[in-house]
């Protein structure tokens, strides 16, 4: 029997959004309550997944499968097909948690057009969850694109002064990347048909045929997917939309943007880029470029953060730096690097999500994010200062907190591949400490210099509640990360095995699914696998 737990998690927010449509728009409190209840419900229905998933963490392949390969649009072979492994499991839990936290944090921050806000937020939640659950490439793309609209509106309607510019820039950048990805998806789809005679968008099926594409075609497909994902991550030099979008988005939007949306790019790299094009990913030049861009991102993001006068911009650029670590881990292509990367994605969601909430709380009280406006805040808001300190330390990677575990594992993985990669990245950690501690010093220490800050009130119980789960998670991952690594072990080893079949000491790997279905691939079959016109594209 199929379990429907994934569908339940996926559609709970959407049900809330539909319900909200029927609430009169002037009844703001009712709207807030319903929005929060459904966000909390979204988290609650995902919690049973934890023990269920834990019980089968070592089993190979995707779990909690739902639907069949072509039950949606049979004529093209697209299906409503869901399933998760350890990587998507962690990101789904992160999404439901951050979704609840950010909706809770919007209670007083959003005063205008409340009804639309909660509707779009809940719709966005469904879109993001769908991206992590889809096992069908068509379905994946539908969620990937559909999710753009609510985020665009969240930035464009409830954002800051330059919201229109930021919203359109966000939308166009991402759309540009995803149309290229769509071409790549179609290529894989037709390639699968040439090799097997079956039209299907099923991701597990495509895993079998995509690696057989010869290198000189695969490199272009790799690039098409890479640009789509790299814009989303965002990797240097595709990052320019991010500071605008982050700074102009409302607090909760920034939390979701940083916490979950960016992870869709790294998730795409792990889920598609590596297993589809193992040959390209392992190519020395390609890998060199990927690692190089990651390191530039780490250092550049950190240096730019150091220079910011606006707190939110500082946090936004720090994301570029932190995501650089994630991509570094991915292209280290070792079990340590990959599992470190996924864990760091979760960590970044928790700590940077919290940092945006922290900035949002000051902004809500003072309506400015200029660092120079503040000073001595720890005197007037002690609870707030404490929580901020914990999250800053978590973000900069202090031992015993979550950031350390992720970054350390990534650096370890990178070091084992090439010590220079690790050596170049380490300054990123130091710079992170510099820009965060310097920010802390300027905002919280000393005496209150600005008279406007004297009357600031400390956190309300609701605000403490929004931080509580994040602080708990930060300590949990920092003190006892073993369960997380155990969840990641099987899927990560599987991916490493696909890319590097000779990598020593991989547990829990199934050989069958990574082997080509055709016993021996004839050279002609390979040539037929990709239409000749791909050559024409290659020449351009």
């Amino acid at each position: 029997m199929q379990s429907h737990i994934l569908s339940m998690i996926l559609f709970t927010p959407l049900v809330g959004a539909i319900l909200l449509l029927f609430v009169p728009k002037d009844n703001k409190d009712a709207i807030r309550w319903i929005g929060n209840i459904f966000a909390a419900l979204g988290l609650l229905v995902s919690i049973p997944l934890v023990p269920l998933f834990w019980a089968q963490r070592a089993e190979p392949g995707f779990k909690f499968l739902e639907g069949t390969a072509n039950n949606w649009i049979p004529s093209i072979g697209a299906g409503y097909n869901l399933g998760i492994d350890g990587i998507s499991f962690l990101l789904i839990m992160l999404t439901t948690l951050l979704g609840w936290v950010s909706i809770l944090s919007s209670w007083t921050a959003i005063e205008t057009r409340v009804k639309e806000y909660y509707i779009w937020f809940l719709v966005l939640q469904t879109g993001m969850l769908g991206v992590f659950m889809a096992l069908d490439f068509f379905l994946f793309f539908v969620f990937w694109e559909a999710m753009l609209v609510p985020m665009y509106l969240l930035i464009g309607i409830w954002g800051g002064p330059r919201k229109l510019y930021a919203a359109i820039k966000f939308f166009l950048y991402t759309l540009f990347g995803s149309v290229l990805m769509l071409l790549g998806i179609l290529f894989l789809y037709f390639n699968h048909h040439t090799l097997t005679g079956v039209y299907t968008f099923s991701i597990p099926e495509l895993y079998k045929t995509a690696p057989q594409i010869p290198f000189h075609y695969a490199i272009w497909l790799f690039l098409a997917f890479f640009i789509g994902f790299a814009i989303k991550v965002p990797m240097f030099p595709f990052h320019t939309w991010l500071p605008d979008a982050h700074v102009e988005a409302p607090t909760a939007g920034s939390v979701i943007l940083a916490g979950v949306l960016l992870k869709m790019g790294t998730y795409g790299m792990i889920r598609f880029l590596l297993p589809f094009f193992p040959g390209v990913a392992m190519d020395t030049r390609v890998r060199g470029w990927m690692i190089g861009l990651s390191i530039v991102g780490i250092l550049y993001g950190a240096l730019v953060s150091l220079m910011q006068k606006d707190m939110k911009k500082l946090v936004a650029y720090s994301s570029v730096s932190h995501l650089g670590f994630c991509t570094l881990g991915i292209f280290a292509l070792s079990p340590l690097g990959l599992s470190g990367s996924v864990l760091q994605q979760v960590n970044h969601g928790i700590s940077t999500g919290a940092l945006f909430l922290i900035v949002g709380i000051l902004y809500e009280r003072r309506h400015t994010r200029e660092i120079s406006e503040y000073g001595g805040i720890s005197n007037v808001m002690p609870v707030y200062a404490t929580i901020t300190m914990i999250m800053f330390l978590s973000s900069m990677g202090l031992p015993l907190l979550n950031g350390f575990v992720g970054e350390f594992t990534i650096l370890q993985g990178a070091f084992m591949e090439n010590w220079k990669w690790a050596a170049w990245s380490v300054p990123g950690v130091i710079l992170a400490a510099a820009y965060l501690l310097w920010l802390y010093q300027r905002v919280f220490f000393g005496t209150v210099t600005n008279p406007k800050n004297e009357k600031l009130h400390d956190l309300t119980p609701r605000e403490v509640l929004t931080f509580a789960p994040l602080v708990i998670m930060a300590f949990w991952i920092g003190l006892y990360p073993k369960p997380f690594f155990e969840i990641l072990e099987q899927p990560v080893n599987q991916i490493v095995h696909t890319v590097r079949p000779n990598y020593p000491g991989l547990n829990g790997v199934v050989n069958a699914s990574t082997q080509p279905t055709m016993p021996a691939t004839e050279p002609e079959a390979l040539i037929r696998a990709v239409p000749p016109a791909a050559n024409a594209k290659g020449k351009k």
């Binding site: 464009g156 166009l172 769509l182 071409l183």
Partner: protein
């Protein structure tokens, strides 16, 4: 046709094969006859209702045709099969939606309704006939029936200068284009000795293709390309769309286009037109690019959508360059999806334009999201569909067109297409930005949505979502229809 076939009179079933056309003509004539008999002030509603009943009856007639065995009629001039029924249903449904939109529009603009509804129905007759005609001379006649109705309708706001300009421009350039088409037909007859598409196909397929046939196809393509507003025959579109009454723009940007695309499909695929690939390649790439670039700088929503329709003609033509097995169903699906979303767009524009069509600039749409949430939400749905965002028909249509093109190894054209659709997103988003992210310029509430318009919006909105969420059935139907064409 031989003399002996001429002597056999048409059988009963042959009349069924032109049943939608008969129904539409009959209702059109009834409206013409009633017009002088009824009081002018009340005539609008009544004649409109009759026209609506007529279009609904035509939809029913098209449905009824699916029950009958497919075949030809009237000495092989008309063929009714799944392919033509598909376009019949698109055309008649669009007609019904346009009539529903016009109820309120005619009252608000204080236009005399008499010939208006009759002309809409006669136009639909031409379009239906175009999609079922398999003989070039009949196609030409049908094209003229549909064109002449739309020429007049374009100038229906006769007290307004730009409306008359629109009509004259459309008429002069349009007649020029149909002349090209007719010249092509004549040359094709010279090259192959027949005007029947099936026979032309046999001749061209069998032996060496004479040079004359290439010229004939090119000339016919000029005429048809003009009608679908494909670049470089698109110059008329923005001016005509700007001046014509909004519901009519919704009508003529969808229904005649669908019918002409049906003709193009028949001419290019069934007649095995030579030189199809490069002709289409260039025109498609030009239309997409010029349409999208032109739309970027428009401030009038009707002009914006005019350029957008040029771009969409380009996307649609991409499917024509693909293989018949996937290209034809892709083109058919796109036609249906485009009809649904564009006619919906213009329904919103017609309502919002108010008396004298004074609110048609993008600035006027500022804050519509607050002034009329339902109107803004439906317009947003149609615009997102035009961008090609998932769960709307526009997404799946584009997806299917591009996948057909990739299957035919048209990588270059597909890349141009997807990049264009990313560029295109910008100007549709400008409208959404205006509606939701700008403060309204005037706080006066928008007139409430009357029943007719509500029904029109509901039909087109439902169709847009249905084609996006559950495209399977329509796609299967289009595929089975496309198989008949080869």
């Amino acid at each position: 046709m031989t003399p002996s076939t001429l002597q056999t009179l048409p059988q009963g079933i042959e009349y069924v094969r032109i049943l939608p056309e008969i129904v539409l003509s009959a209702f059109g004539i009834v409206i013409m006859l009633l017009d002088p008999l009824v009081d002018q002030r009340r005539s609008s509603r009544m004649l409109g209702t009759i026209a609506l009943i007529g279009s609904l009856a035509a939809i029913a007639a098209s449905q009824y045709q699916t029950q009958c065995p497919p075949g030809t009629a009237f000495w092989d001039m008309v063929r009714v099969d799944a392919f033509s029924i598909f376009f019949h249903i698109v055309v008649t449904t669009v007609t019904a939606v346009v009539i529903l939109t016009s109820f309120e529009y005619m009252d608000v603009q204080q236009l005399h309704a008499g010939e208006y509804y009759a002309l809409v129905l006669f136009g639909a007759v031409g379009m239906c006939l175009m999609s079922s005609a398999v003989e070039l001379v009949l196609i030409f006649i049908a094209l003229e029936i549909s064109s002449i109705s739309t020429y007049i309708l374009a100038g229906y706001r006769r007290r307004v200068a730009i409306s008359s300009e629109s009509s004259v421009k459309y008429f002069l350039l349009g007649s020029f284009a149909t002349a090209f088409f007719l010249y092509g037909v004549a040359l094709m007859f010279g090259a192959t000795g027949s005007t029947s598409i099936a026979k032309i196909g046999e001749t061209l397929n069998a032996g060496p293709v004479p040079l004359l046939a290439y010229v004939a196809i090119a000339l016919m393509f000029v005429g048809l390309g003009f009608k679908v507003a494909a670049a470089p025959f698109h110059i008329w579109t923005p001016d005509v769309y700007e001046g014509a009454p909004a519901p009519i723009v919704g009508f003529m940007s969808t229904a005649p286009k669908a019918a002409v695309f049906a003709v193009l499909l028949r001419v290019l695929f069934e007649a095995h037109a030579p030189g199809r690939l490069w002709l289409i390649w260039v025109v498609a790439a030009l239309s997409m690019t010029l349409g999208n670039i032109g739309a970027l700088v428009q401030d009038n929503i009707k002009r914006l959508l005019a350029y957008s329709s040029i771009a969409h003609a380009g996307y649609l033509l991409v499917a024509f360059a693909a293989l018949p097995s996937s290209g034809i169903p892709a083109a058919m699906f796109y036609t249906a999806a485009y009809a649904a979303m564009n006619v919906g767009c213009f329904a919103v524009i017609s309502h919002f334009a108010s008396a004298g069509e004074r609110r048609v600039t993008l600035e006027d749409y500022a804050g519509l999201g607050r002034r009329s949430p339902i109107l803004a939400a439906t317009l947003t749905l149609f615009l997102l569909s035009l961008i090609g965002i998932p769960i709307t028909g526009g997404f799946f249509a584009k997806f299917y067109v591009f996948s057909a093109a990739l299957q035919a190894d048209l990588v270059g054209l597909t890349v141009i297409g997807v990049l264009n659709s990313a560029v295109g997103a910008y100007y549709y988003l400008r409208v959404i930005v205006m509606m939701y992210m700008r403060e309204p310029r005037e706080e006066t509430p928008v007139a409430p949505i009357p029943f007719g318009l509500g029904a029109a919006l509901a039909i087109s909105g439902f169709a847009t979502l249905y084609l996006g969420l559950l495209p399977g059935r329509v796609l299967e139907y289009a595929r089975s229809a496309a198989a008949l064409l080869r």
